[in-house]
């Protein structure tokens, strides 16, 4: 797509809305969860999972090599109303990176995991 320059300096319709930012609390919750996953702290992770996601979270936690991951990378994010998806990767020397996607949403004032998918070895969450 051609670059039309700075929108404020060109003729034509200007945006009528502003971009929605990731709520800081959601981003913070993602960071905490990714770190817990990297450490393999299954108990703490399961405490942050909604009942419907407990099995998915347990399955994801069982895939990690606890304490060996050194890097965490947020790949992407998106939202459905107030729930936020985070796609991320944790990696470490000599380890196959673990790519995962989680959906976080507030429940009684706490950001909880509503959905967790292990994307490692898959092309995407669309892979059946």
């Amino acid at each position: 797509m051609p670059d039309l320059g700075h929108r404020s300096n060109v003729m034509g319709p200007q945006p009528i809305g502003t971009r929605t930012s990731i709520p800081p609390a959601a981003l913070n919750a993602y960071t905490v969860i990714a770190d817990l996953l990297a450490r393999g702290d299954r108990g703490a992770l399961e405490a942050l999972a909604m009942p419907q996601a407990a099995a998915e979270v347990a399955g994801l936690a069982s895939e990690v090599a606890p304490g060996l991951y050194e890097q965490r990378e947020l790949i992407g994010s998106a939202h459905i109303i107030q729930h936020w998806y985070f796609k991320a990767k944790i990696s470490g020397p000599g380890l196959t990176p673990l790519t995962f996607q989680i959906r976080l949403g507030e429940n009684e004032g706490r950001w909880m995991i509503w959905e967790a998918t292990n994307l490692s070895g898959k092309r995407s969450a669309w892979t059946k």
């Binding site: 809305g17 998106a78 996607q101």
Partner: protein, 255 residues
């Protein structure tokens, strides 16, 4: 190259969030909302335009795959599919610009695979019945809704941009009707199979009838009057279908 590729073979930027449609619906119901985007959502316009934009991409890919998957189809059919790829790519660009206009961007919301699932038919007659008559027909309904919304907002940018896209979509539905009829000429069984495929897609998108079918004036211009229309059924003495006149739309003078 492989034919009839599964949805996860579609190329997407790594940072895009892709979710199965069932999970996207669950994300809504988990928040106490209905399963479809609702005008009562805080970000209804962004979400709706985003869904359409993602749909335009998948429609572009679907028309391209139809062209590739059926090399023995008539030349004119292939030309129509190529034309549709061109149209859909333009639509995708238009909607990306509209997303920017409303303060969004492609990737703000997850993309689901539901449209691609409608391409999984090994007969070009089924493809055009499902995609052109089913999906593109539904798109006409949604576009009409957005145009009217834009009119109420007094927003000529959205109104006209969507109107330009709608003009193309009507031709795609018409193209689907034409090829569904031509490809099944003299083969009522094949016709019935294509009609059933379209019906299954209509049911998918109306959630097994939970969402009532609509009758939108612009859609009638394509000769596909309702979601369950059988207007392409071969007839010994085919009569030209009358186009219902579109309801007058109030045009904004502001560009």
């Amino acid at each position: 190259m492989e034919k009839m590729i599964p949805v996860d073979r579609l190329a997407r930027p790594e940072h895009h969030i892709l979710v199965p449609a069932a999970n996207a619906r669950r994300a809504r119901t988990d928040q106490g909302r209905g399963i479809t985007v609702s005008p009562f959502d805080e970000d209804f316009l962004k979400g709706r335009l985003h869904g359409i934009c993602a749909g335009e991409f998948q429609a572009m890919e679907a028309a391209g795959r139809t062209l590739f998957d059926f090399p023995d189809a008539p030349w004119e059919f292939q030309l129509d599919m190529a034309r549709q790829v061109w149209d859909e790519s333009r639509h995708a660009e238009i909607y990306m610009k509209l997303l920017e206009y409303v303060g969004s961007y492609l990737g703000e919301f997850p993309e689901s695979e539901v449209l691609w699932s409608c391409t999984q038919a090994d007969d070009p007659a089924c493809r055009v019945a499902g995609i052109n008559r089913g999906l593109e027909g539904l798109a006409c309904d949604v576009f009409e809704q957005i145009i009217r919304l834009a009119q109420k907002m007094g927003d000529a940018v959205i109104e006209r941009a969507v109107d330009y896209v709608l003009a193309d979509e009507i031709t795609h539905v018409r193209m689907g009707s034409k090829w569904m009829r031509k490809l099944t000429e003299g083969d009522p069984e094949r016709y019935a199979k294509a009609a059933a495929f379209q019906e299954s897609i209509d049911l998918t998108f109306t959630f097994a009838g939970a969402v009532p079918p609509v009758r939108i004036p612009d859609r009638s211009l394509s000769t596909s009057t309702t979601r369950t229309s059988n207007s392409t059924r071969p007839s010994p003495s085919p009569k030209k279908r009358a186009c219902s006149p579109a309801l007058p739309r109030k045009r904004s003078n502001v560009w």
